[in-house]
Amino acid sequence: MSGFLAGLCVAVLPLLAAGFWLGRRTARPQNLGDLGTPVEHATFETLHNATLAAPPLRAGLTEETARKSARRLRTLLGTDALCLTDRETVLAWEGVGEHHREEILQRLGGPLETGRGEAFRLRCDVPDCPLRWAVIAPLTVDDRVHGALVACAPRESAVLVRAAGEVARWVSVQLELADLDRSRTRLIEAEIKALRAQISPHFIFNSLAVIASFVRTDPERARELLLEFADFTRYSFRRHGEFTTLADELHAIDHYLALVRARFGDRFSVTLQIAPEVLPVALPFLCLQPLVENAVKHGLEGAADKRHLSITAQDAGAEALVVIEDDGPGMDPALLRRILAGETSPSGGIGLSNVDDRLRQVYGDDHGLVIETAAGAGMKITARLPKYQPGVHSGARLPREP
């Protein structure tokens, strides 16, 4: 009998120990060791959810981004249902009770008009529907109401009203950032236009003067130059498409160089080395010609001795490597760095930094221009162009997703 008792004790003791340990754990479910107090933990949780909700919203308010972020936002607010709307439709409904869509839409008019939040009781015929109250918090960007965040709950709660308002303000900030991104894109587009405009006056006068000088002595040459001039300006001023092919860009450079050669004669020589494999590569419109123009302008103008320019386009696996090298006076690297950072605008305009910005914007930050130069040592500019990049086609630009 005592043996049985002893056995029982031995069996029960570990059970008791286990129960004790389990009790402690369930009693303090948020015991997270070094992660801090429950308050701190809740803060981390909230920040984490906010971080996850942010990236989709940065692309603007669409059905897809709303769907992706609504899930996170509902966790953030801890409500039964959350929905995001624009001015007309419900973009995403996260959680239960989707039959309230219509009702919400009807009540949306007021808050969208005034820009002020509203809480109201929901009418519901479904007996076990948990949603009885809804809070509408408008999303405003630059004082314009873009849509609303609607949180639904079983009962009226001042905390929810306040929290929904705060979350809506946070979402509005993200949307403002998205707006900022868009205006940055527009700025770059405007710079391209500026670049096109920049080509014109100086270059056009010089070219026309050169052509005029040939009209009597060599009419045939003058005619050819005029055609080159026409081709080049047609390319530069074309309106459609953000991208072009390397072949077309090189042809534009050729027309440009023909005019430059007419002006400078023997003082200027060019070597081209082009792997035909990379000619179909698509690249941002007018992103090499400014580099050549830069080399000509800084290498040739004002100098008396001969200058050489070499342009190479190599095939390098999934990328094309374009190198433009001149033996001109070069540039002080510190000055160049300032120009590229946009701190000083050189007399030559916005050529180099504009090209660099656009390459980084299209291909990512590791595809900017690589420039090797020193005062009196010429300049070598290398651009790495991926053969394929999503969204980059030499053809018509795809309409951006709304």
Partner: protein
């Protein structure tokens, strides 16, 4: 055979490849010949490059070897290899070019805008590339062994090292010219000896009956069996044997072997009398692949033939090294013209290997017994002509064979290394591309040393099967079906390509359960069931996930199918210059 000629020829081919690759760029000194320097690659040059990259050891050596051992049924191989381009021309070439994709993963991303599908496609590119590289290295090993008696893996190692050095050092800068050069080299290396061989055959009285079963010896011949093998005899055969046959030692005795299967131990010499039918070695005992595929073909000839046809017809479009060459075409119409030219060039080339196979059945049938049938092309000049002429012709053929290994292996290595660098290794850059090159070559090299003994044309057929089951559905549905979704594409590639890959692996590893019967044939020739499986999965999963059709699909498909001029692409300015 004088080895110095062949070794010199091989060295010359390697040297020429390096030189053309490094210095074949167009250079212009003045702007006046700018148009020459910046002219895009024409369809004919590009077609020669595609053909050069495509015609591998399987075409150069393998087809002749298969025709030698198994007769005219094997003519389906050259037919299939060529017809693959017909399917490519009809369904894929121009839209693929217009998609702007450089590699197959690029295409997946352009069409489906999904990173996971892109990565999956990348994984299959690597898999197909490795499967395709394997027989190239083995073919190189075989060629070098036949030419110089070097140990079998050495040739593969040499090709691997040469290719890795050339590719990693950036020596393939003018790859179009290199590959076009290789095509004409390969064509010459088969055509010139073929003319002389035909003359010799005429001089021999133009013997017929090349396709009699089994191929018969024209003179008494002694064969040394290096590795143990099983002989399957359809009729009794009288041989003189020195060594061990059926477990009994013989010392130069004349024995008559009855019909049935006989085991010959390695190191045995068999002397076959004139006019004897040459038995075909049955390697199933080794668990190797050669016997496995061949026996499946014997048991289910119709099924195996259809499997082969489907794999080669639909697999060509998914070969990673072929697809990247289409990027060189300036636009969709040029891509289509290029494909037509490729059909012509490849069709012309494939007339020659069967000729070697037929002559091989007449003059070197004993190769079927030793299992080195792939060497038929290399040995024919020596056997048929002899003397200095044979040495020179043999050297030409050897050089052509090495050109075949080099061009295909370098193209594949670049494609696989590109995918590894872009999608697997952490960051892009030249150093990582070199690492990728090394990795791309190391795996198949190790496998070729380990697996051993596959007939090259069969091994290439397996790579085609995997490509046909994974990339063919992706490309065809991606181009022609607007309801394709990323989950559907991923599931289809995984199920179709994955099952084909599993079947191939089982066949290569000599999976014991796959001994005989239907199951075995199904595993050895997977294309006939895995391709429809891939298509069905892709279609049904896509239909089940209609909400996941990528936005902008209509615009993307419009760009694939409309000529570039309509979509506002290249404004041609040449007209203004006239």
């Amino acid at each position: 055979m004088d080895r110095t000629y062949s070794v010199t020829a091989v060295a010359l081919v390697v040297l020429a490849t390096v030189l053309v690759g490094a210095f074949g760029l167009r250079v212009s000194r003045t702007t006046s010949d700018f148009y020459v320097a910046s002219r895009t690659v024409g369809p004919r040059l590009n077609a020669a490059a595609i053909s050069g990259e495509y015609l591998s050891a399987a075409s150069f050596l393998g087809i002749a070897g298969l025709v030698l051992t198994q007769g005219p049924d094997m003519l389906w191989y050259p037919v299939g290899y060529t017809a693959g381009y017909l399917v490519l021309l009809l369904f894929v070439a121009a839209p693929l070019r217009r998609s702007g994709a450089y590699t197959l993963p690029d295409f997946a991303e352009a069409r489906l805008a999904s990173q996971p599908v892109r990565r999956l496609a990348g994984a299959f590119v690597v898999g197909v590339g490795w499967l395709y590289l394997l027989p190239q290295l083995q073919g190189a090993g075989l060629t070098l062994a036949v030419l110089t008696g070097a140990p079998a893996p050495l040739g593969g190692i040499i090709v691997a090292v040469v290719v890795v050095v050339i590719v990693a050092a950036g020596g393939m800068r003018s790859i179009t010219f290199v590959q076009a050069f290789q095509y004409w080299l390969k064509l010459t290396a088969l055509l010139v000896p073929a003319l002389f061989l035909m003359l010799a055959w005429q001089g021999d009285g133009a013997p017929r009956g090349a396709f009699d079963e089994p191929p018969a010896l024209r003179a008494q011949h002694t064969v040394r069996v290096d590795a143990g093998l099983d002989l399957r005899l359809a009729q009794p055969l009288t041989v003189t044997a020195t060594g061990t046959v059926d477990g009994r030692r013989r010392a130069g005795e004349r024995i008559t072997l009855p019909a049935g299967v006989h085991h010959v131990t390695g190191g045995t010499r068999l002397t076959l009398p004139e006019g004897a039918g040459v038995p075909v070695a049955d390697r199933r005992g080794d668990g190797g692949m050669s016997g496995s595929l061949a026996s499946a073909r014997e048991e289910r000839p119709l099924y195996a033939t259809y499997g082969l046809i489907l794999a080669t017809f639909l697999g060509t479009m998914g070969l990673p090294h072929v697809v990247v060459r289409f990027y060189t075409s300036p636009h969709g119409v040029a891509a289509r013209r290029t494909t037509v030219a490729v059909l012509g060039l490849i069709g012309a080339f494939y007339l020659l290997p069967p000729l070697y196979g037929a002559l091989g059945r007449l003059y070197v049938p004993e190769l079927a017994l030793t299992g080195n049938a792939d060497a038929a092309v290399l040995l024919l000049p020596e056997r048929l002509i002899g003397g200095l002429g044979a040495d020179l012709l043999g050297a030409l053929v050897a050089g052509g064979a090495f050109a075949a290994f080099l061009s295909t292996a370098s193209g594949l290595t670049m494609a696989v290394a590109g995918v590894l660098t872009q999608d697997v290794l952490p960051s892009r850059g030249v150093r990582h591309f070199r690492l990728g090159t090394l990795l791309a070559m190391a795996v198949p090299l190790a496998a070729s040393v380990l697996v051993g003994g596959l007939p090259v044309a069969d091994a290439v057929g397996l790579a085609f099967a995997v490509s046909a089951s994974s990339f063919c559905p992706l490309l065809v549905l991606g181009i022609w079906w607007r309801r394709l979704t990323p989950p559907g594409a991923a599931a289809g590639m995984l199920v179709g390509g994955g099952s084909a890959f599993a079947a191939v692996t089982a066949t290569m590893a000599g999976y014991p359960g796959a001994g005989t019967g239907t199951q075995h044939a199904l595993l050895a020739w997977p294309a006939l069931w895995s391709v429809p499986l891939g298509f069905l999965t892709m279609i049904s999963v896509s239909l089940a996930t209609p909400g996941r059709v990528p936005p902008g699909t209509a615009a993307i498909l419009a760009r694939f199918h409309l000529p570039e001029q309509l979509t506002g692409g290249r404004a041609r300015t040449e007209a203004a210059r006239v």
